[in-house]
């Protein structure tokens, strides 16, 4: 599959290109004011309001430091959370590289990673630049109870 790499705190993660709509430069967002730490707020993408999620908080626990190479990756997520509808989410990443071809299906199973709450982390493989782990972006929203407490209107009726 083709993936786009992003590097969070020197760890490489891969995002499936099939889930990506487009890559945007960092634009200003309206802060959410409540909710979990990884939910930064709302952004305006060509007239459409999308939630902005900070990948660094999810995988590293610390907010992304703003820099020139930072990008917003607009994802299209197939999730059952919102009545089987596909939804769009903006993911703030420190930097990107790719797209490149990587085969994550041959990675096999690694012991010790099947714990609850870690379902957004996919299989890990090694290439010429070191280890890289696949992000299951769809599960990011599924795995967190706090997101479900948000009013559905905030997502369905922008």
């Amino acid at each position: 599959m083709h993936v786009l790499f992003t590097i969070v705190n020197e760890r490489r993660f891969a995002i499936d290109c099939a889930e990506i709509i487009e890559v945007l430069p960092v634009v200003s967002h309206r802060p959410a004011g409540t909710g979990p730490a990884w939910l930064l707020g709302l952004i305006n993408v060509r007239g459409e309001l999308l939630p902005l999620v900070d990948l660094s908080v999810i995988v590293d626990g610390k907010p992304t430091q703003p820099k020139l190479a930072s990008r917003i990756v607009v994802l299209r997520l197939e999730t059952e959370l919102f009545s089987s509808q596909a939804t769009k989410v903006g993911l703030l990443v420190p930097e990107i590289a790719g797209p490149v071809m990587r085969d994550f299906d041959a990675a096999g199973v690694h012991a010790g990673f099947a714990f609850t709450g870690g379902s957004h982390l996919g299989p890990t493989i090694a290439d010429e630049d070191g280890m890289v782990q696949l992000l299951r972006c769809r599960r990011i929203l599924e795995g967190d109870a706090a997101l479900r407490q948000l009013p559905a209107t905030a997502w369905e009726q922008p």
């Binding site: 786009l4 290109c17 430069p25 990008r71």
Partner: protein, 697 residues
């Protein structure tokens, strides 16, 4: 000054102490030593006498015993040779021996029962019955008897039983035990009214004891002989054997006879016990009979186991010595007393004259030369011929001489006192004057020294100022020349700086223009990059149809990245250039301002230096004049100082002389006063007369 002289320190006392006492001591020491020697000699002689007496007694007794034993031996020898058993011949022989030896009082031969086998025969021709003992044994005793016609009587011996039979039993026992014919002298005992001792010898025929033969000796003879010895020596002699007294030259206690008395029962028994302790040495003890200190000496008679004890009271020895010593002491005491009396007479006479001389000397010492109070004793002491009288006369003469000397001294004293007072006054005045002069001189000298020091210091200062001014003038001239060239260089620098500043400003403007272009390039590159990413994603989504496009998108993206990197570099470099140029422009403008100020200052300094040089040149002439003047002044001051110093030294010397003079004058006055006092102490004849008159008035 008269002072009581104790007897111990007086002339008489001393002569007694130093003359008589040592002499007396010497005399007494000699007497003591002599007495001690005499005492020792007497003791030694006493002991010698005692030994001689003892030896004499022992020799006498031994000789007697030996002779008697020899007679007994002759009897025994004849028996053993041929006469044993021939009883009649034996009786004849006993009678012959008795007759020919007046010292013995009896002879006897006794056989053992039936020793010759003739007992059964009984009395027969030549052998009367009274020569036989019990059972017919031969038991003959021949003794003197004044009653019988031929003076001799034969009678049988008493059967030997108990202690009285020892004369027979003792030799028998010894002969049977040893087989040797050993003579025995018995203890004295009373045999039928006579005190006798027996000298017995056993008869041994063919090794068998068959009887004894012996002689009796009366003790009276021995007793008389011992008394002779005792009287000659002044000592008592006691002879003892087997626990009995044989003889004694004195009686025992309470007039009892010691003879045939047991020693152990007599009072002398403790003395005899001591013999064992002292052996042949003399010893001293309190005699139990005489109750006084006695010396004892014991000896043993070789023949017959007798012991001789000689006793002599120590009083006998000490009496003689004591008499001698008392005589010596008496003589010594008389001699000392005589010396004492003679010495006292002489010393009293000398002492009287010496006391007179002492009286005169004390009077003179007290200042009385009048001689009015001369005592009668002193006048009397002047008569005489010995040295002490001469001394008294000399004292009188000395008195007269002193009178004339004191008179002369008094006159001289009065005159000397006047002179010394005058001298003292003069010296005091002189000392004051000289002191004042010296003080003034010292002050002048100090002032001059200060002037001189100041002048010299000033001169040195002027010289250094002069040299400094010359160097300053030279330096100023050089400085002016250099400053002129500095001023022209600075003017040229000012122009160049202004040009550089203008060019830098142009560079700054161009750099700002480049910055704007670079920002535009960066933005374009970034957008291109994003565009290519999105294009790539889209191409991927398009699947195989989009593969070619994906390659192109990727290439575009690489170019865009390179462009962005290059433009970032340019932006950074241009930024640095801009800040450098801005800083340069600011530095240049500040430097230009400073340059202009500096040029003005330099020109001002050049002008000032010119003025300084002119003034220094002008001052050189005045400095030269001042210096020569100072030198002349310093020399003058130095000369004055030396002169004043000499004057001051003279003044000091004068002052010291004046002080010394004054001191001498004072001493003289003092000496004269002392002399006057001393002279006044003496009282002359006319004065004493005047005093007497005054007292009378």
């Amino acid at each position: 000054m008269s002072r009581a002289v104790t007897f111990r320190k007086s002339l008489l006392g001393r002569s007694l102490l130093l003359g008589v006492l040592p002499a007396a001591a010497v005399v007494f020491v000699i007497v003591g030593i002599n007495s001690f020697r005499a005492w020792n000699n007497v003791n030694a002689r006493f002991e010698t006498d005692l030994r001689a007496a003892t030896e004499l007694a022992v020799g006498e007794i031994d000789l007697r015993n030996q002779r008697n034993i020899d007679m007994a031996r002759i009897l025994v020898a004849s028996q053993e040779a041929a006469m044993f058993g021939r009883r009649a011949e034996t009786l004849d022989m006993l009678e012959n021996v008795l007759r020919s030896n007046p010292s013995i009082c009896g002879t006897y031969v006794a056989y053992e029962p039936d020793a010759d086998g003739a007992d059964a025969l009984g009395a027969q021709e030549g052998v009367p019955a009274n020569a036989l003992g019990a059972g017919g044994r031969f038991f003959a005793y021949v003794k003197r008897d004044a009653k019988s016609p031929d003076g001799i009587q034969i009678e049988p011996l008493v059967e030997p039983v108990g202690e009285d039979g020892l004369w027979y039993l003792l030799p028998k026992e010894r002969a049977q035990r040893s087989g040797v014919a050993d003579p025995v002298i018995t203890k004295p005992y009373n045999y039928r009214g006579a005190d006798i001792i027996e000298h017995v010898v056993p008869i041994v025929v063919k090794g068998k004891f068959v009887g004894v033969a012996g002689v009796d000796v009366a003790l009276t003879g021995l007793q008389e002989r011992l008394k002779d010895i005792s009287q000659r020596l002044g000592a008592d002699v006691f002879i003892e054997t087997r626990g009995y007294f044989v003889a004694a030259t004195t009686d025992g206690e309470k007039g009892t006879s010691l003879r045939t008395t047991r020693v152990a029962e007599s009072l002398l028994s403790p003395v005899f016990r001591d013999i064992v302790v002292h052996g042949s040495r003399p010893w001293e003890a309190i005699d139990p009979i005489l109750h006084e200190e006695c010396v004892y000496l014991a000896a043993t008679v070789p023949t017959g186991e007798w012991r001789v004890l000689v006793r002599k009271p120590t009083r006998v020895a000490t009496e003689a010595v004591t008499t001698t010593i008392i005589g010596n002491v008496r003589t010594a005491v008389i001699g000392v007393v005589v010396i004492l009396v003679l010495l006292s007479v002489g010393a009293v006479s000398i002492s009287r004259r010496v006391r007179a001389a002492k009286g005169i000397a004390e009077r003179i010492a007290g200042g009385d030369l009048s001689g009015g109070s001369a005592t009668a004793l002193e006048s009397k002491a002047a008569t005489g011929a010995d040295e002490s009288a001469e001394l008294v006369r000399a004292m009188h003469q000395m008195n007269d001489e002193l009178v004339s000397i004191v008179s002369a001294v008094r006159g001289a004293c009065v005159r000397l006192a006047a002179t010394s007072a005058q001298l003292a006054a003069t010296s005091h005045e002189q000392r004051a004057t000289v002191g004042a002069f010296g003080e003034s001189t010292s002050q002048i000298a100090a002032a001059i020294r200060e002037i001189s020091a100041t002048g010299i210091a000033l001169q040195r200062t002027i010289e250094s100022v002069d040299a400094g001014a010359r160097r300053a003038s030279e330096s100023a001239a050089k400085g002016r020349t250099r400053l002129d060239s500095v001023a022209s260089s600075m003017s040229r620098l000012d122009v160049a700086t202004s040009e550089i500043a203008g060019r830098l400003e142009i560079i700054a403007e161009k750099a700002a223009a480049i910055g704007t272009v670079v920002v535009t390039i960066t933005k374009v590159a970034e957008q291109t990059n994003l565009l290519s990413v999105n294009a790539a994603i889209e191409a991927e989504k398009a699947g195989d149809a989009g593969l070619g496009f994906l390659v192109v998108a990727r290439e575009i993206r690489r170019l865009a990245d390179q462009t962005a990197g290059a433009s970032l570099d340019i932006e950074r470099i241009v930024g640095q250039m801009q800040s450098s140029v801005t800083a340069g422009v600011e530095e240049m403008s500040r430097f230009t301002g400073e340059m202009r100020t500096g040029t003005g200052d330099v020109q001002q300094i050049v002008g000032d230096l010119g003025g300084i040089i002119a003034q220094i040149d002008a001052s050189f002439a005045s400095f030269g004049e001042v210096r020569s003047g100072m030198t002349t002044q310093a020399m003058g001051v130095s000369q004055i100082e030396q002169a004043v110093m000499q004057v001051a030294a003279g003044a000091q010397q004068s002052s010291r002389s004046a002080v010394e003079f004054g001191r001498v004058a004072d001493e003289l006055a003092h000496a004269v006063a002392v002399l006057q006092d001393a002279a006044a102490r003496f009282k002359l004849r006319e004065e004493s007369a005047a005093t007497t008159e005054e007292g009378a008035a």
